[in-house]
Amino acid sequence: MEGRPTEDAEAIARARGGDVAAYEELVRRYQDVALRTAYLVCPETDVDDAVQEAFLKAYAALSRFRDGAPFRPWLLRIVANEARNRRRSAGRRTGLAQRATDVAGPAVEPSPEHGYLAAEQRETLFAAINRLRDEDREVIGARFLLELSEAETAEALGIPRGTVKSRTSRALARLREVLTETDGGPDGG
């Protein structure tokens, strides 16, 4: 999922020359992060379809890709835009979902991969994320769920690089507000 500048540059050059296999290789390299990005931006849409469309748009736009630039955030911006365009027709907001096994409860925990949050806290956190405005969920998701750098987040979400930090901290503050509203007790969830 990490960017691979040299391999990317080669594959892009070949794809521009009409080598569809080279492009297929790029798609395979980035399809997971593309799917996750689309899901984060619009969890309600058919993300497989959105990502497929975004990859086709990226292919058509390859001639405008700046040589030497990182491919991953450039691609993710196209993906994010495609997913945003589908929000209006996506129907009722459901938000990010937990994996079924995790919802099931104690059987799968405590497990190290789930960190230190208790099941109930995790539930609360999901609910809070899903109550955030789209732009707050996007920036928090890009930084902490997709683990994009600030620079990548800026490009992928189309926001000025200098404001990623402040937007992230604002989104975290809102998340805390939402948690306070929903998380009644003195010690929270």
Partner: protein, 277 residues
Amino acid sequence: MGGLRTMTDDELAAALRSIVPAVAWPEPQLAPGGADLASRVRARVVAEPKRSARGRWFSFAPARRALVLAIVALVVLAAVAAAVAFGVPGIRLIFGDPGGTPPPAVATPSATPSGSAQPAGSSLQLGEPVDTATAADQAGFPVLLPTDPALGAPDAVYVSGRDEVALVWAPADELPPTIEADVGLLIMQFKGSVSPEPIGKIIGSGTTVEPVRIADGGYWIEGDPHAYFYISPEGEHVEEGRRWVGDALIWQDGDITYRIETSLGKDAAIRIAESLH
């Protein structure tokens, strides 16, 4: 650990990272035939060649190309509007009858002595080679010449069927060649009526357009070679038949439009422009 709502930003960030494995992320789907996302994308790329990355703007089908041109025209209009808003008069240009008329049979003797090699710029289809006085007569406006003695008189003068006058200097010691090896400097002069119709330019990704203060306003256009077109009163775009030979300074003075193409750079182009007399 404390409650979620009392966490610092860093703790909250760590809590968010910890739920990544718990998110029901979408998995790559396999189509009924077993094709994964990447191979489905590949199949569609092959099946929908219209969207191919290989197509640059000039290889688009005509309808698509017209759309691209129209969009570029809008962008240029916006740039002109912005320039006006910032106090730099925009160039508002439409030049003569964009449909053009066939080049008249000019009986004037060539500016170059017969028997010599082809005059500079002869491959650019700038029109008939004439002398400066004839060019001015035919164009119907005074043809201005740069007064810099280093440049001297043009090596060739042309007038086109649309009464566009072109002055061409061959490359010299102080005048490096442009994209065209036999052209060091090109100065175009032609009548542009003040009109709301814009001149549109195809600006490639490597091209910049910078407003400059000269006469009634102009632009310095630098970078990749660019073609240009203008939009007729009927709304059709008319492309000029050739690419420009180098970076260009284009400006309007009264009802005449001037264009200098050179590889000398902006400042030199402006000096030449200001020396025209």
